[in-house]
């Protein structure tokens, strides 16, 4: 299966800008399906970005983050070609990890 994470990391000078888009339902547990049954909560709780062995950004999420979450941030200290590791875990124990080369 293709990765649930799509990342673009581009560096200009000392600053690396990271944009990530993750495929995830982010169900709140409050919505009913077409049969009138509650869809159980299913959402990403933690999303982590690591570069050169150091956490550069950690997101703690609740159910209010939109479906197929998007996040953008920037950090210093990485160079073109460095690897950025992205991983998430959700409330049902699901997880995914990917790496992206900084361009």
């Amino acid at each position: 299966m293709a990765s649930s994470i799509r990342v673009r990391a581009t560096s200009t000078g000392d600053i690396t800008e990271v944009q990530a888009l993750i495929q995830h339902p982010m169900d709140t547990g409050l919505v009913k399906d077409s049969k009138g049954e509650l869809i159980p909560a299913h959402f990403i709780q933690q999303l982590k970005f690591e570069c050169n062995g150091k956490d550069v950004f950690v997101a703690d999420w609740g159910t209010a983050v939109s479906k197929d979450p998007y996040v953008k941030f920037s950090f210093k200290g990485a160079r073109k070609g460095d690897e950025l590791k992205i991983s998430w875990t959700d409330n049902k124990g699901g997880s995914d990890t990917t790496t992206a080369k900084i361009a």
């Binding site: 150091k54 609740g62 209010a64 479906k67 953008k72």
Partner: protein, 165 residues
């Protein structure tokens, strides 16, 4: 009519005693631990308790344990009117130094805390994301900088609530 026989098995008295003993030892052990509330910025743990709080004030208290003061150094960018409450683009930037975390609170949502971001040293204190909003609401961004909390708020009008998406 038949009566179902009662189960014959009973926990053996010694076994029960041993179990009880083990349980009280475990409790004593827990009692001796220093009381350390989980704070998002202070450790790596997911702040479950803060996400469970309903009101904004309780969520801020559970996450940070203190109150924030409004600051014009926190710039919160959100649409005045969100047509789709399921996907509202929100971003925050700040000129404050020594930022360690940025959090978003949607006051009218069933649980106010929406997202909390830890900003390690070397990371620019700015973040953009997309949040759900149940209805027209006050939106608060809190920036934790040098141990203090600074906030910015904005009213977002929601035409279609985000509970369905």
């Amino acid at each position: 009519m038949t009566t179902t026989p009662k189960p014959h098995w009973r926990p053996h008295p010694t076994r029960r005693l041993i179990l009880q003993g083990a349980a009280s030892v475990a409790l004593l052990g827990l009692g001796n631990l220093p009381f350390a509330p989980a704070r998002a910025a202070a450790n790596d743990k997911y702040p479950e308790e803060a996400f469970r709080q309903k009101s904004e004030a309780d969520a801020i208290k559970a996450l940070y344990g203190k109150a924030a003061e409004p600051s014009d150094k926190v710039k919160l960018d959100a649409p005045e009117i969100a047509e789709n409450g399921g996907v509202v683009p929100i971003s925050v930037t700040t000129s404050l130094d020594k930022v360690t975390s940025i959090s978003f609170f949607v006051a009218e949502n069933p649980n106010a805390l929406a997202a909390s971001y830890r900003i390690p040293e070397g990371t620019i204190p700015a973040v953009a994301n997309r949040l759900k909003m149940a209805r027209t609401t006050k939106l608060t961004a809190i920036v934790e900088a040098d141990g203090k909390l600074y906030s910015a708020t904005k009213e977002v009008k929601v035409t279609v609530g985000g509970c369905g998406g």
